[in-house]
């Protein structure tokens, strides 16, 4: 067992990831650009910013969620977050009609969606942790059941809605990186910046929390409070990414596990930036490939879900073999 431990420096790995992300970004901004650069850069810049924000929000929220749950094949979507998003959209169009919803200012709508999703998360959490049973797994199960409920209720409304309205709704619910709602960029960036600031101050606590509830309490972490804050951060980040592009299930799982694989450390101060950079590389790079190789013949989310789904199955098989 005298296997030499090959430990690459985390800073080196992070630098490589940063270079990859930069290459993807440069390729996205310049490849096949014709005509006026001012227009090209401004047009692509907005799209790029949206992709980066989404990549960042999904990767960070997934890593944090996996730290809280102590499980590496869970993603926030298991708590029914994106199902709730779909339900909100469906109810809005069902009640107000697509014309009225399209006419709404997207910013207050976004704030409303984020507020509902965050409230849902806090209620679920408070309710489950105030009783005698304070089990994270019970909370996840309840989250899954709620997710199914939200999805079924959305489906029910979609069955009885006007077919023309349904087409509009379906368009809104598909994760699409081409039709990003750019009017939300400023608000999203601000929200993410605040969430990141809160998270960065707690980065050492995340490391301790990954050891499990009992060990974390033994080491003096206020477990209940910390988990509440992290779930709030996750809810906010998920709201941002779903509001910008719609639900993406497997992407977070993919990038979080890639980050665990390449980063030779358990420290969130390294893991979180690494996962964000991997996410940016995948999303922006994927968009480049989509635009220039497939010629927009498919949607990026389909490719991501396909690759992410395969990784998910591999992880489960690996876990079963262990």
């Amino acid at each position: 067992m005298s296997r030499k431990r090959r430990t690459p420096d985390p800073a080196f790995v992070l630098a490589v990831l940063a270079v990859l992300a930069t290459v993807a970004i440069v390729a996205f901004m310049t490849l096949g650009a014709r005509g006026n650069w001012d227009f090209v850069l401004a047009f692509r810049g907005r799209k790029l910013l949206a992709l980066i924000l989404v990549a960042y929000a999904i990767s960070v929220s997934t890593v944090l969620f996996q730290t809280v749950t102590g499980n590496r094949i869970l993603t926030p979507s298991i708590m029914g977050f994106d199902a709730l998003f779909a339900l909100i959209q469906t109810v809005l169009i069902f009640v107000l009609g697509s014309a009225a919803v399209s006419a709404l200012d997207p910013r207050p709508l976004f704030a409303f969606e984020a507020a509902v999703m965050t409230t849902f998360c806090v209620l679920l959490y408070r309710w489950l942790f105030s009783g005698a049973t304070r089990s994270l797994h019970l909370m996840l199960l309840v989250g899954i059941v709620f997710g199914v409920f939200f999805r079924s209720f959305s489906n029910f409304l979609q069955r009885i809605i006007d077919p023309n309205e349904f087409v509009v709704l379906q368009d809104r619910l598909f994760a699409s990186f081409n039709t990003v709602d750019t009017s939300l960029l400023g608000l999203s960036a601000g929200t993410i910046a605040i969430a990141s600031l809160v998270g960065w101050r707690m980065r050492h606590t995340f490391d301790v929390l990954a050891l499990g509830r009992e060990t974390a309490i033994n080491l003096g972490v206020d477990h209940r409070r910390t988990v509440t804050i992290i779930l709030l951060l996750v809810a906010v980040l998920v709201s941002v990414s779903t509001a910008l592009v719609g639900p993406v299930t497997f992407f977070g799982l993919l990038v979080a596990n890639l980050a665990y694989m390449v980063m030779p450390t358990h420290r969130h101060a390294w893991l979180l930036p690494a996962s964000a950079l991997i996410a940016i590389t995948c999303l922006v790079g994927g968009q480049v490939i989509l635009e220039h190789v497939f010629g927009f013949a498919t949607a990026l989310s389909i490719i991501i879900e396909f690759v992410g789904g395969i990784v998910f199955i591999l992880l489960i098989l690996k876990g079963a073999a262990r």
Binding site: M1, L211, N218, H266
Partner: protein, 252 residues
């Protein structure tokens, strides 16, 4: 001194700890023994604030465990549970270094490094320091966790069945180690044990629990005694004096 007053814990209808009052003096090794379901682990969990109590209070050197901030208490009292499952891939040194978190909050100092090296050598883990936890045997991993708790450098150290999954050699060395921590480092060690012979041979004080209450407590000479033990475990237990140690047999 750990002072437990009228502690109660119930899950739905079953009372797990029923009005337990107990004082555990500072220094030495105290063991908590008793049959399954007697409430030993729950008692230990409430003392170490892992489980909330329904009624009563616990103070550690005058600090109430429910109201004292977690990080203050983490410098006075540490606890190690039986099953420690960690999803992250950590080396032994990483794990032991976490013991310094209550002091350094993630920014280790030179002082912390000294404590980490001290704990590693106290548990004879120097050669394994850079190995990953999932590459170790059960006994080695157990020792790594004990090193983390030792690195926390608290006056009170609580262990819930630390001998689980350990073979005879490792169980004996673990108990020797806990006794050394008490004798040489002046720690107060509290262990939940299943093996009454281990309690008899290694502990300074024994607390016996039965049916959510304390059945008896005292020195090994007082507790390792035929009628008391037979009554607690509800099987005939015989006590023999062998090489100056009180050994129990209960296989017939």
């Amino acid at each position: 001194m750990i002072e437990i007053r009228d502690l109660v814990k119930a899950y739905d209808d079953s009372i797990v700890v029923d009005g337990v009052s107990l004082q555990i003096a500072a220094g030495g090794v105290t063991s908590i023994i008793g049959p399954n379901g007697a409430g030993k682990s729950t008692l230990l969990s409430m003392v170490s604030r892992l489980v909330a109590m329904d009624r009563g209070s616990v103070t550690v050197d005058g600090l109430d465990v429910t109201t004292t901030p977690g990080d203050v208490l983490a410098r006075r009292l540490s606890v190690l549970r039986q099953d420690n499952h960690i999803t992250t891939r950590l080396t032994v040194r990483d794990l032991v270094a976490f013991g310094r978190y209550p002091y350094s909050k993630g920014r280790p100092t030179v002082e912390d490094a000294r404590h980490i090296d001290g704990a590693l050598s106290f548990l004879d883990l120097g050669d394994l320091a850079d190995r990953f936890l999932d590459e170790l045997s059960g006994g080695q991993r157990q020792r790594a966790f004990v090193a983390m708790v030792l690195c926390q450098d608290t006056d009170y150290m609580l262990f819930d069945e630390p001998l689980n999954n350990l073979d005879i050699r490792h169980a004996v060395s673990m108990m020797r180690l806990l006794r050394r921590a008490a004798r040489e480092l002046g720690k107060t060690v509290v262990v939940v044990l299943h093996d009454i012979n281990v309690a008899s041979c290694f502990c300074d004080h024994i607390v016996a629990m039965k049916a959510a209450r304390i059945a008896a407590q005292g020195t090994p000479e007082e507790i390792i005694e035929q009628t008391i033990l037979s009554d607690i475990y509800e099987v005939p237990i015989r006590v023999h004096e062998i090489d100056g140690q009180r050994i129990t047999t209960y296989y017939r």
